[in-house]
Symmetry: C2
Subunit: 306 residues, 2 copies
């Protein structure tokens, strides 16, 4: 049995001012064939096309905050899904003002969508469960930025235990019992004895998790909400030489992002939301890796699979 997918596609890596090569923030996360769009900066729909992503498979969009570079691609994406015939409900998780804004845009353009949009309002007081099904759960986590902002934590539900075929032989259990074991039930051996499920199975793969943290200043309490995350995306708008500017604008440096990865005991760190002033992004790695070695850049088109 192949493991279920857990794959992140980076659609935009730039901070507020995009460049000719860097788009504003957006990411597409596929967990067990649920496609979650995370932030939706201007141009996201074109980026989705560029990388041949499954446009209409997105049923859940998460918006961290209402600075333009994180949501201005949303109205166009919503309109295009409509024009391309979407009928499935879309759920948008974000600040409550986003619902108001979309209503106004649709009023002025006299748009009546073919599909319904459900809005789930985020808040910044505490971690909050936003979405849950049998495979995945998604939480918002409070960030500290100039306006109300949340990050998002995506976690696989505990995965089923794997059947150990050598144990089946050892305990004289026929393959016909496998369907019981898969359901978590005990099996019966060829002599009629009950054999406990745990004796015939081994622990399933560790549930994987991804935390998206943009935009935020560095603050240690964040680490509590994302402990032992496998993949951490943490914004690094600036290099350490601009730490004052980072504090002033409620952003982080590459070193601070790396420090957060250490505190959160993350497995891997992705840096992004790079200020347009930087051409050479390798400088971000050079600054972060001495603090947290397993660090990569979240550049347009990069794919990270867990």
């Amino acid at each position: 049995m192949s493991q279920q997918s857990f794959e992140l596609l980076i659609l935009g890596s730039s901070a507020a001012t995009p460049t000719a090569k860097r788009n504003p923030t957006s990411q597409l996360l596929n967990v067990a064939e649920r496609f979650f769009l995370i932030d939706c900066g201007e141009g996201t729909q074109m980026q989705l096309r560029r990388y041949k992503a499954r446009f209409q498979s997105v049923n859940h969009i998460f918006i961290s905050h209402l600075h333009g570079d994180h949501f201005l691609g949303l109205p166009g994406f919503i309109a295009s899904m409509h024009l391309l015939g979407r009928q499935n409900e879309l759920t948008i998780y974000g600040p409550k003002e986003l619902e108001e804004l979309m209503a106004i845009i649709h009023k002025f353009s006299e748009t009546q969508l073919n599909y319904s949009i459900k809005f789930v309002h985020t808040q910044t007081a505490s971690k909050q469960l936003l979405f849950e099904d049998e495979k995945v759960e998604v939480y918002s986590v409070p960030l500290k930025h100039r306006i109300a902002t949340t990050g998002f934590l995506f976690k696989e539900k505990p995965l089923p235990r794997n059947i150990d075929k050598y144990k089946l032989e050892k305990y004289n259990v026929s393959f016909a019992e496998i369907h019981k074991l898969k359901k978590g039930l005990d099996a019966v051996d060829n002599d009629g004895n009950v054999i406990k499920n745990e004796q015939l199975t081994i622990e399933g793969p560790k549930p994987r998790s991804y935390a998206f943290c943009s935009d935020t200043k560095y603050f240690e309490e964040l680490a509590k909400n994302i402990q032992e995350v496998d993949l951490l995306y943490h914004e690094s708008t600036f290099l350490e030489s601009k730490i004052d500017r980072a504090a002033q604008t409620f952003h982080s440096t590459a070193s601070q992002a790396a420090q957060m990865a250490v505190l959160a005991k993350a497995d891997k760190l992705l840096l992004g939301h790079f200020s347009a002033r930087y051409d050479n992004l390798d400088l971000f790695l050079e600054e972060a890796r001495p603090i947290f070695s397993n660090t990569e850049l979240a550049r347009e088109g990069s794919v990270f699979s867990l």
Copy 2:
């Protein structure tokens, strides 16, 4: 003396749904070093960077209507100009609801711009002078679309007469008199006789004009407002085989755009706003040129100089 500039850069050629290669509507027109941005679909600021256009030189933005593919790049462009230190006033010409929408977006993002924006509200009852200085005038022209929409007509002011150096010799007028002639005054010959300006000068170049007409259904009255325009951009969302769909959605076909160029006695026609369903845009030329031969496609990055 070199003629003043009159140059159009196409930033986007797609209809409502952009494709990987075609961006939503936007154009940059340079008339005598006035940089007019016409419509501002999603991604316009990235397109301006791609084509190395002069970002902060834009002081006037014209928005035809409030369908997303014509204005959703505006909030991001406004924000980027702010972040890049703009201080000069910006004037935006468009439907009055646009002012309301921008105010809401700035309220939700808690943005206080470093520069002021002046809004000039367009109306669709009649042709209207929107802007005028010593070199250029800009009019709105009513279009017929599903929501209130205007086109825009950009016209050079009458250009000064050119001094005829052979006539100066013939009439025995010294070069020292040139500054008077340039001001439109009469000159004095070397014997003290007054020589009329018209005798020493020849008519200046014909003032040039550009009409932007998107989005609209085909309607003959439009031709009156753009008579003898040098360059006509007319939307052609569809080919003639979709003429019913064009009528239904208040759009035009390539043939209809060509017919409008004939009625308006235009010199050259540009087609644009192509539906995403069409891959081969040459079909638009094949349809339009038998009706109006001097037709070109308004594709991303194309430059048209008059």
